[in-house]
Point group: D3
Chain length 226, copies 6
């Protein structure tokens, strides 16, 4: 049995970064982890139409993996289709945003989110409200970077430092979340730049998924939704 981590965008290099980010976790894991690229997805998930548009392909693709799946991870910070995936599958399904929030709540009192652009912040705020954890948010600020600009290390680190410091000093964040699936390579450096723990959503979700699989071992019906 395997934990299937599905990147709902079609960019294989993003999936490759995820695999690299979770390698230390996979190395320890008693259950296999496999990263997949959703070929039907857009190159990047930037709009609400993208978010809603990948749900059906996600359901279809995950259905093909169903028989050998011990858990699924939806690896996009908008957690597209999470509720539908949970409805469709008996095994645990995790979203990287929800997992990152839960992880941050274990590591500090108020988390700060570093989002790529302003557009996604509205979605995050709505989602935090839906999760009933808005009070744990210090602030969610835009880096003002496009997905492609993340390749520019110098510029990215400069913005991460600026925004991370603002989240810490002006908004009182004591833990940070990189609000995007493809920023694991910057996590350690952001921790060093700010002195705060930084949560990478993919790593948080991979670890959480392993925990869910172990809990399922206590009772296979445990994850059954009502």
């Amino acid at each position: 049995m395997t934990i299937h981590i599905i990147n709902p965008n079609s960019s294989a290099h993003v999936t490759a970064h995820m695999a690299e980010a979770i390698a230390p976790i996979a190395a320890m894991s008693p259950v296999a982890l496999a990263c997949h690229t959703l070929s039907e997805g857009p190159p990047g998930i930037e709009t609400q139409a993208h978010v809603d548009g990948v749900v059906q392909p996600l359901l279809a693709f995950s259905d093909t993996l169903k028989d050998e799946a011990s858990a699924f991870v939806v690896a996009c910070f908008s957690d597209p289709g999470l509720a539908a995936m949970r409805e469709a599958h008996d095994v645990p399904v995790l979203g990287i945003a929800e997992s990152a929030y839960m992880q941050a709540m274990l590591m500090g009192q108020r988390f700060g989110i570093l989002s790529l652009g302003r557009a996604s912040i509205q979605r995050h705020i709505r989602y935090l409200g839906a999760l009933g954890i808005s009070d744990r948010l210090a602030a969610d600020l835009p880096l003002g970077l496009g997905v492609l600009e993340l390749a520019d290390e110098e510029r990215t680190l400069e913005r991460l430092s600026e925004v991370g410091t603002t989240l810490r000093d002006r908004f009182g964040a004591d833990v940070l979340i990189t609000g995007c699936a493809g920023m694991a390579q910057y996590r350690a450096r952001l921790e060093n730049m700010t002195g705060l723990p930084v949560v990478d959503p993919c790593q948080a979700a991979a670890a959480a998924a392993i925990g869910q699989v172990m809990l399922s071992a206590c009772n296979n019906k445990r994850e059954k939704r009502v």
Copy 2:
């Protein structure tokens, strides 16, 4: 390295039940789990004085385990000394109540808590507020049972059924939490009686602790508090 699960009360049979409850998890875990009884603790933790009274012994005992610890779990549903333990240790520290809440939030929208007595509910409500997740609570109702009465299976199952059904039907709970460390033996039956998933706090915390250890593998400084 080992995940040390410390039962802060001095009742070895409670610790034995915990070990039994987490056995399926331990069997899969890449890291060893060890359950301990805090000999300085009271037979059961029922009052605020008990909660506060075990903090110092917990800190002292955990200090003796420090060098071989990859994580700690405080195994009492009042999460005594959790903040102090996190302050004292660089490795992850989990509380079974916080872990149960996080687990329940992954399994439903509003959780119901089955507490032993009325006295602990005030504490739970304060704690949920401190965690900023009060909106996820459906209700917290007392079973009206003492720790010893949990040995009376018939009476306990009757009350679990009554209270669990009330939480589901009157308060809209879609997931249940047994608000006590020693009720794992009733979990599956409570699920069958109510048709709702039921979270056992010790199992939830053990699984979460393994996830935290794996995350630490991504970055040993990760858990460092600011």
Copy 3:
């Protein structure tokens, strides 16, 4: 120009009931209202997969109406695709659930929701959280009726009376919302049975849409999203 009200399920008789429900409003309206059935939709929207599955057809269908649209209304109580519709269109887009909540907030302090089944309540609770108005909810209770059973007047009225009275007397609701697009024919009777004002989501959204069109007249760029 026209306000296009789209029923995202494929049941024409439901659309016919909507048209009937809003007839008094259409009769007064300075702008035409047209009700449409989304032929690609399922007969009824009951699962999360249904909710997510209608978004793309909704976007496609609304796109064909775009040039002559002064506003859109998504006429399903789960407000499927509302964010994506707003992203796609420059004209106002209303959801019947959001509109019903806003209307209820003008008519009482705490609204009660009468939902068909238990399954949709989780969605409603998440949505109220996303809207930041959870404190205005008295309770959301299931009628335990399927869409087809709504045709059974006697049974439906009996359950509406039971649940409406419970929302008023046990949970303190001072206004009620029928949590489904097809119950307008029961609104007046539910008001008489409970003595509380009752909001029909389709009527609330139609009226709100007319208001939005008039506001747009003050400034055509007004509805432009950022």
Copy 4:
């Protein structure tokens, strides 16, 4: 039948500005809109004593209009006497602040309020709490302008630009509300300066009132308070 919009301060020029602001709405409306000045009111409503002091005259004046009224609008951003007006009248009664908040909630996730002075902000915060929508507020900041200074276009635009930009960039507002009845003439320019939609409370309330009248057509008893 007529929608009566009552400016509770005695400054006829403010009433004239309101009439101008809602002219595009009135031009489309199937029901007449009439703006009135409350002669017993103070020149401007700036203190809590002013707010409370206009309630009785408002009730008395609205009573004289009762027989030909299809709805009332209280046109002061403190919504003076709104609850008493609703208690007194069977027809819909709207306040421009409540209407502006509802409108802003349809146009963005978090609204920013531009208030004239610091003194009114305490009132706004209390009111948002009473409405249960505090989570939708980004921030409420003072322009530091008196009512008379609004006549100084240059100074006013400069402050609107500064405060509007701060609300957008530092506090994450994605929609703005001018927290005063007499600023409609600046709305379009504030939208251009900030790129955010801006809600004028009088326009929002006028449009909402028309919607309420149309809903009343579905059921004359609809607005009856319990």
Copy 5:
């Protein structure tokens, strides 16, 4: 100097009951307490129009007492004119509802309110929201009694027992508040019937006012509003 407690209704016997209720406090107080009846008030404050209608007379009457006042208490559970009174006076002004809530928050985690009729509950809920303490409310239930019916001891005690027990057992209240100025004579018996502490609003406000006067002694400018 004197603490002036003003009953904003015109029923002298209610004022007499207040004086009796606070007698044990007055006997210990270093500063004199005087109870007054607002002759311009209605016999009882039951509607929103009553609430708003007493503000001007309250301000006028309190102004005549100003020179010898060390504090004011507005002795109606709707706290009419509290904000205006605080704006008008430099000395501390207390409302009996706000004081009762604060007192209850010191005595339990979630308070239950026993209101006379359904009508006032909407007001209480709005007020708790304005105070930002809604999370501390267990529930607010109507006794279904008019002010005059409070003279019927048997009937009143029966309802107090029913509602108090419901607040405790169904809604988890651990402290109760009698939501009316004239019920002090029932407080001790309600405590005995429910086993919960019961807050009488007038007693709570009188004690709080004495505390405020003592704080003022530390700094006469202390209470100055900004």
Copy 6:
């Protein structure tokens, strides 16, 4: 009978400052106030271990004062052992932080906290959540001063002015709280520098305790916890 104010740290000079701060209150009080130093406490309470570590000594010491106590005040801004003290004693027990928050809520709509260091802010945020009053917090900012540095008047006043002004202007605080037991000597000057009322926690708690004692006079069983 006496109100015993216990400074849980072992620094007698801090206790001396407290006694000085409450002298004007003690001078008016009908009941004696006595300040005590907890010799078993640390010189200052700066860590969570300190907070938890003083609970047992506090309980033991307060037990020796029990027979002549009319109330207790725990005089540390972390309110260590407050719940345990209330459980242990039948007389009122107040914490200076809770009392300061309640006092600030009477003096403004949103309070700002001036904390010594960043470390204590996490604790304050958790506590405000537990009290259910997070919405009343404007912000909690660190002065960046150690307890000893408070002796440096020039430096302290400079930071108080900077932070107090930021709380007022950027975060909209309309009342301030000095988040430490030993800053009463700066209160008046901070009020003058900011124009905002400033709450000293020890003064607030002393005044509140006197009020509680007077309330107890109405009913000796009043403070009995359930």
